[in-house]
Amino acid sequence: MHLVPGPNNIKITFIPPSQISQARFTTRITLHYLPLLQNPPLHLAIVLARDSDGQFEGPPDRPNGLDEAVKKLRTAGYLWQMYTAEQMFRNFPGAPGHGGSARRSFRLEEEWGLDTLSLQESDARRTTAKIHIVRSELTVAGNYDCRGSPFDDRYAGGGE
């Protein structure tokens, strides 16, 4: 469900199997969404080599272009955000202010644009995570040859 800043009137309807009941059960809640814009955001970026063809490794029958990478990273960003909130709540039990934590998480940098989170709609525009496309000045071969630092050695043997 996509929330907008301010009050959001949400209607939840349960339609039971017909052999159980013919009635529908409906409840309504109002959620007030207040974006905490004063907190610094987490930026998302895709870094490409200078001569990159903008493709990532994937199954041959699935799209693997830059547009697809943007969609996947945007979805992953929101999943990480939700996961962090849930883990904060689970690992710090108790009331906020008494040693516990609410569902706290980081804020993603967002912008108004084409939203790609849902397959149930197309050409939907709303506030959604911004993905920066950053071109490195190095080529793929140049970057590849930069291995040798302790950070990179973890990937030696690579590909997994």
């Binding site: 990532f56 920066h132 190095l138 040859d145 930069c146 990179d152």
Partner: protein
């Protein structure tokens, strides 16, 4: 290409990415005298064969 690689050998992926972000500018470029929180960026390296057996 080889020369470029030799020049940057051992530089590390973090440094490469940091350079790329600074060159990109935007929210990643911090001005002189700024002492607030540094921008936090989560990067996806699209060319995954940077780390593989290309």
């Amino acid at each position: 290409m080889r020369e470029e690689g030799s020049k940057n050998k051992g530089k590390g992926v973090k440094a490469i990415v940091r350079d790329a972000l600074e060159q990109y500018g935007g929210p990643f470029k911090v001005g002189e005298g700024y002492d607030g929180p540094k921008p936090t960026v989560l990067c996806l390296l699209l060319d995954s064969h940077w780390f593989g057996n290309a």
